[in-house]
Each structure stands twice: as C-alpha cells, then as structure tokens.
Amino acid sequence: MKFLVFVEDHEGRLQRDSLGVLSKAASLGGEIEAVLLGSEVEGLAAEAGKFGAQKVHVLDDVLLGAPLPQPRVDALENLVRDRGFDAVLFAASVLSADVAAGLAARLDAGLNYDLTDLVVEDGKLVGKRPALGDSVYAEVGWTSEPRLALVRSGTFEPAENGGRAEVETFESRLQDFSLAATMVEQAHEESEGPSIEDADVIVAGGRGLGGPENFALVEELAKALGGAVAATRAVVDAGWYPYAAQVGQTGKTVSPKLYVAVGISGAIQHKVGMQGSGLIVAINKDPNAPIFEYADLGVVGDLHEIVPKLSELVRARKAA
C-alpha cells in the first residue's frame, strides 16, 4: 500500500502527533511518503525520515507561511493527482482537520475521522473509531481512492526507526479563494502560568462552575490536594481562565494520577486531553454528562455544595 502522511510543522519543529501517525504508517508497511507544506520548512523534511518516511514531498512557499488550511488543500490535490496514493493520513489538529475535509470534497474521496487505530486486513485498510461518546466501536472502510483518514489526536506515539528520507520539492498553483483568508495575528506559545503537564493531581473546572469567580472553589480544592488547576476549552474561550491551563484537543494532554473534573460535561474535545489519567473523579449536576461514562467515580450533585466540603475534609485529613 502506498501511504502519504500529512506532516504538520510549528515554529521550526515537526508536530508530534503527525510523527506518531507517520510511525504507525511505517509499522503497517508499504511505501511510506510524507508531505510537508509551509514556508522555510525544507530543512525540517529530513527529520521525517527518522520516523519512517522513505520520501518527503516539500512545498516551500511564503504563501504557506500562515497555518491556514485552504492553500494546503490545493497543494495536496496536485500532489495526490500527480503521484497517486492508496491512502492519505492526517493527525487531527485544528489545521489538519480542515485540510483533510477540504481535500475530501476536492477529490471526492472518502474521509473517516476520529480514528483511534488503523490496521491492514487482507490487504485492505481498516480504521477503528469510537462512536456515541465512545460507547461503541466501529470498524470503518473506504470505497474510494485515495482513502483519507483523520486520526484522533494523541493516538499514536512517534517511534524513531533510524531511516532516511529522500527529499523532493514540488510546485503547485494555489487558488485565489484559497488565499482569500489571511492571518492578521498568529498565536505564539504561551509560556507563563503553572505547568499542568507534570502535576500528579489536577483539579479542572468547566462551564458548570457558572462563572469565573467560582474558579476559587477549584483552586481551593487543588491547593488542598496539592495539585494544579486546569480548565476546559469552553471556559478558556469565554475568558474565565488562561489558555495555558487548558486541557483537551486544542490544549494540553495530561496524565496525572488523579484528575478531578468539576462542572465538566466531558465532551470528546476534553476527553482526549485527560483520558490517560490514573483515576478520574467527576462532579456534575447533569446525570447525562458524557464524563460519567469514563469517570472512575461520578457524583451527580451541586458542585457549590460538594467542592468546598471536600476541600475541608481533605485539609482535615491531611492535618490529622
């Protein structure tokens, strides 16, 4: 099988999840090629060889400097039509998801998304994806070529295999409509704030808190437990808590020994960032919140009652 893996870069490095998908493709065997699209990225291309790419196609163009999806669809369309691939694989990110879906429409090629595994059975590529809040697993296939696959973030670990890649540049026309959206201000990594990635205990707050002032409850419990404070995307987007504390698909991926989710419904965007936690305790007033499906202990109740009391009990216990 001939694979093409879309490798994303950010500030001079290849993105970890896309190297994970590249490593996975390499483990499936066949012809493994990667594609890197950006501005001043040619020097990064050889790195992909270490993770299993035999060839890296590079389009180095100043017009691809901003991480915007549409010109990347143009470039991929040209590469795929020109070279032909059985499958094109993406690691889900804000950018890659938009690129993958745009390419699906452009090529009229089937896209399976949110995949948590890829296998080759009887020479056929099969994807696995959880559905309905991960309550059922589906095996999915394709009836088109190429097969487009978008892998859930954090699914595959990058694995170096000591290989080397041939780097080949290509050209592509970029369409006017693809270049119509422009970056006015690009995010740069925020470094301030406490690091939640190394914490053994995390207490996280979500929209169920009701307002930014109630983060004090979360902070108090975190302090009692000796842990760090985290937040969901919804409350970060709403400006209640800084982005550096965000756990989830577009935030940090954490795996503390204990994760206490306070007022968090537990949508997939959040789950992928914390499902590796040792013990998950959830407090939420909505009995149907998806988080109860994967919390080790789920408590249906009023967090405003429970959390202060719990902080007090933990403090008393620790003082004893």
Binding site: H10, P67, L68, P69, Q70, V94, L95, D98, A100, A101, G102, A105, R106, A109, L111, N112, Y113, D114, A131, L132, G133, D134, S135, Y137, E139, V140, G141, T143, S144, F177, A180, A181, V184, E185, A187, H188, V201, L225, R233, V236, D237, Q249, L258, I268, L279, V281, N288, F292, A295, D296, L297, G298, V299, G301, I306, K309, L310, V314, R317, K318
Partner: protein
C-alpha cells in the same frame, strides 16, 4: 446581506442512543432536537443582525421531514426562514455526500455568510464546514470564538493548539463557531407563536439538481464494516449526592490511595 446557518437535527441528548445493527447507522427513530452546537451559530447570526447588519437569517438543514418541528426553534429564536432538504435518498450520507447536498442548497441561497456550529452532537463530526467551503470555493475560518463584521470583511479569533489566531476573510465566507462564542437566547413566547408562520420550505434532491446516486449510501465513499463493544475501563461508580457526597469522595480517594 444574507446569513445562512447550517443546522442539524440530532437525537435528544437524554435519549438512549444506539446504532441499528442492520443498517449500521445511528437509530434516529426517537425524538430529535436542533443540534445544541448549532444553536450557538444561530445566536451568532442573530447577534450580527442585532448589531446592525441588515441581514436575513436563513436556516439550512439536511434531515428527515419530521426535523421541521425541531428546527423551528431557530425560527422562534429569531431566524427569518427555514430551508430543509428532506429526501429519503439522502439518508446515510457521509461527509462527501452531505457536503455535496448542503453546498447545493447553499448555492441556491447564495448567502454572504455561512455559519456552522462547533460539531454535531450525534456523530462527533467536526469537519463538515471545510468540505462545504471547498465546494463553494469560499474562504473559511473555523473554531471561531469571536466574530466581527467590518467593511465587507469578516474577522474571526480562533483557538488552535498554540493559542489564539486572528484571521480575516472577505465576504462571502464560511465560518464555524465555537460553542463558547455566545450564550444563546431562549425563544420568547411570542417567538414560539410566530415561528410557525415564518416561511418554511422543504426541498428534494431533485430540486437541488443532485442525483440519488450522488447522495445517501450510494453517494458515500466510507463504510461501516462492523460494530463492537468498547474496551473495558474497569468499574465505574456513579452516585447521586444525598448530602454525603464529599465524604464518599474522600473515602474513595483513601481506598484508591490517591491522597
């Protein structure tokens, strides 16, 4: 200007959800609602109109005939008009087929702005907008947490893995909003009463010039081969607070040696 909001009819969140083992599709026979994530998109359209954009807000949906009633919630909130593509041949459409049908319905409306919600509540899909934008050949901004219209341009602040970007695009454009972008209004009694009288149009695939072969399972390029139970996650305990929840959590943490 004209703002189209793409909205999906999804099973009610409280309903037990299941996949029909025969068709391997989500069982949609129960009660349905307007996808909660799309309510944020409706609200954002109404906010733009309230802020002075002289706009007509049109809801565009693909779903079964009985979706009409649930979709009226958007009209009750204040949207002006509803277009529902209801055709049995469209059932089971995947991303490629859905984007084809929706793009055809949007082309017929030719709106200045197309809005999508963050994701579908039922299929966890969060990519449709990019496929639709490509078919319409319009600029796209996704994951937008703040949206403004200035001089024929739309400006969106989006969250990525690295923080916040600000992106600008000329109209017409396609925007997918985050569910944190606003707090949707509740329909007023007057709004609910008036919703039924607002224009509601049901279209077939033929009306859109989409053939049955291009839609539904025939027009889809992905398949569901098999279904299985998820891997066991060990025992999960769920309890209702009877006033002793804090004590019970403490006991649990002690038992599991998490303190």
């Amino acid at each position: 200007m004209k703002i189209a909001v793409c909205a999906k009819y999804v099973p009610e969140a409280t309903a037990a959800r299941r996949i029909d083992p025969q068709t391997k599709r989500l069982d949609r026979s129960g009660e349905g609602v307007l996808n909660p994530f799309d309510v944020n998109a409706v609200e954002e359209a109404l906010k733009l109109r309230d802020a002075g954009a002289d706009a007509e807000v049109v809801i565009v949906s693909l779903g079964p005939e009985r979706a009409l009633e649930a979709m009226r919630r958007a009209l009750a909130m204040g949207a002006d008009r509803l277009v529902l593509v209801a055709d049995e041949a469209a059932a089971g459409s995947d991303l490629v087929a859905t984007s084809r049908i929706l793009a055809a319905a949007l082309e017929r409306e030719s709106p200045d702005l197309v809005l999508f919600g963050q994701q579908a509540n039922d299929a966890d899909g969060a990519v449709l907008w990019a496929a639709v934008a490509d078919r319409l050949q319009r600029p796209l901004i996704s994951q937008v947490a703040e949206l403004t219209l200035v001089d024929g341009k739309v400006r969106g602040k989006r969250q990525t893995e690295y923080g916040y970007d600000v992106i600008e695009a000329p109209l017409p454009a396609v925007i997918a909003v985050s569910d944190a972008i606003n707090e949707p209004r509740y329909p007023s009694l007057k709004g609910i009463m008036g919703a039924k009288k607002k224009p509601q149009e049901t279209l077939s695939l033929t009306d859109l010039g989409v053939s049955a072969e291009e839609a539904g399972e025939a027009g889809s390029l992905t398949t569901v081969e098999a279904l299985s139970d998820p891997p066991e996650r060990g025992d999960t305990v769920k309890l209702e607070d009877d006033g002793t929840a804090a004590e019970k959590i403490l006991e649990f943490l002690q038992e599991r040696k998490a303190l």
